[in-house]
Amino acid sequence: MLDKFVYIIFGLSILSAIGVVAFRNLFYSALSLVAALFLAAVLYICLQAEFIAIVQILVYIGAVMTLIIFAIMLTARINDKTIRASNQQRVVSLIALVVFGVFLVGQICKAQWPQVTGVNAMVPIGRLGELLVGHFVLPFEAISAILTVALIGAIVIARNK
């Protein structure tokens, strides 16, 4: 039952991911990106990772996508139906995509996937928090530092203009 449902979600998310690059209208592309991210959250729920799923919705749809759509709405000719996304870097992006794809497939094939037996694979959030400020405290702090630097950098760049 759940297996078949997961395949439907896979299909829909691939369709909406194609929609992101195939739609001629920027606004439609952004909305199909919303759909793709939402379907990823559904997949996390199927994997019993409800915390990651909720964070996916909160961060990607609630914050990142809202900012992207906000930026689209600030562009001129937003009400123009024939507005086209301009792709001037097709070759570069193709190379990057192939390299990344090969790397990803290689890693997936190489990885030792841990087998979870039993139905309940859910990690309690408390444990997740303990790991983040315990065992993984260095990467966690590094990410915070990177975000702070990015934030200050954005303000500095915006101020000079």
Partner: protein
């Protein structure tokens, strides 16, 4: 009496189990709370419009709806029939699909948030471990729907309203999450039912609002919630005097009603979450648990309507400045004060925590003194 609705659901489930075939058994416990919310939410919305019209009318020294039924109680039904019979206008230049999509998308998240509200003891549709986070994430989805409405209408007022609304929602989401963080840190759980359980004791009055950090957190959460749901004095997104009706300018009939339905349902859910987090949820003496829950929620809704009747609308810069320069620093100080309250020994923790909050409040007011309204002198008034 306390478990009236719970036992009622149990009875219906038993009956269903005897009727339904075996392979559909798993559906009944999922479908019944879902059906309850789907039926109850429009009912709540209908009578919130009635309540708002009555209350605002009393504030303005009028009577309000009083023609249809006793006390105008059937007015919402008459309004609903009127909405259904109105012509559905789609503007010439609008994107037809998007124009149709927006009202449907905006109601769904508003209703989905009700799944994690504990309406009473054991009365919660889905008691998930990340309840509060779920509420915040799902209510944020309304932004996308407002965008679709503003863009799909192909109208400059709609677009302006949508952009104002997003700027407002993004700004107020941050102090809101930070004020919730205090409660989550105190309880050590994101589940709404665990938060209510943590407020038991003191004869049903052990609510978080009676702690210094709880009081400040409640005020921040309530103001941010009023802004999130586009209520006066934060209703810039639909400011009638400036941009017609904002993002729903081009909607008529039932589609317009759906926008209002989403607004009123989220007003209810924000007030319900405020009473869950800070006012003890369904905790309280004598009355059944669900009665306490609705009493607290409707009191908060009444306060919001009182705001609407008395406060003028803010300017855009005042609105965003209030979130970033007022509520946000206060929310950070509040987290610190909650930590001090927890770790300083008992009689002193109230003193330390309260004095920190009071000093921070006056510092923030002093820091913003250039933005505060000056006392006007009316030269020609006398």
């Amino acid at each position: 009496m306390d478990q009236l609705f719970v036992s009622l659901t149990g009875k219906v489930q038993e009956i269903l189990a005897s009727i339904l075939p075996d392979f559909l058994d798993f559906l009944a416990p999922i479908a019944l709370p879902l059906l309850g919310i789907l039926l109850f939410a429009p009912f709540v919305m209908m009578y919130l419009t009635w309540l708002e019209r009555k209350l605002v009318a009393r504030i303005q020294n009028r009577i309000g709806p009083n023609r249809v039924g006793p006390f105008g109680l059937l007015q919402p039904i008459a309004d609903g029939i009127k909405m259904l019979t109105k012509e559905d206008v789609i503007p010439e230049g609008a994107d037809r699909f998007m124009h149709f999509l927006a009202p449907a998308v905006i109601v769904a998240p508003a209703m989905l948030t009700w799944a994690v509200l504990p309406f009473g003891r054991n009365m919660i549709a889905a008691d998930i471990a990340v309840g509060v986070l779920y509420f915040i994430a799902i209510s944020g989805l309304a932004e996308i729907a407002i965008f679709i409405a503003g863009w799909g209408s192909n109208n400059k007022f709609s677009l302006l309203g949508a952009m104002r609304s997003i700027a407002q929602m993004l700004s107020y989401e941050i102090p809101m999450v930070l004020s919730v963080a205090v409660v989550v840190m105190m309880v050590g759980s994101l589940s709404t039912s665990a938060i209510v359980e943590a407020q038991s004791g003191w004869g049903g009055f052990n609510w978080f609002i009676f702690r210094p950090w709880g009081l400040v957190g409640f005020v921040i959460f309530f103001l941010a919630g009023a802004a999130e749901t586009n209520r006066t004095p934060f209703d810039l997104a639909e400011a009638e005097s400036e941009i017609v009706a904002g993002f729903h300018t081009e909607y008529s009939g039932m589609k317009f009603a759906l926008f209002f339905m989403a607004e009123f349902i989220s007003v209810f859910s924000i007030c319900a979450l405020a009473s869950t987090l800070f006012l003890g949820g369904w905790q309280g003496p004598f009355l059944p648990s669900w009665a306490w829950f609705f009493l607290k929620t409707y009191t908060l809704i009444g306060v919001l309507m009182w705001f609407r009747g008395t406060f003028p609308r803010l300017r855009v810069d005042q609105l965003l400045g209030f979130a970033w320069k007022g509520l946000l620093p206060m929310a950070f100080v509040n987290i610190l004060s909650m930590g001090l309250w927890e770790f300083v020994p008992r009689p002193w923790n109230y003193v330390v925590s309260t004095s920190l909050l009071v000093i921070a409040f006056f510092l923030i007011v002093y820091g913003n003194s250039s933005d505060l309204a000056k006392k006007r002198t009316y030269v020609l008034a006398d």
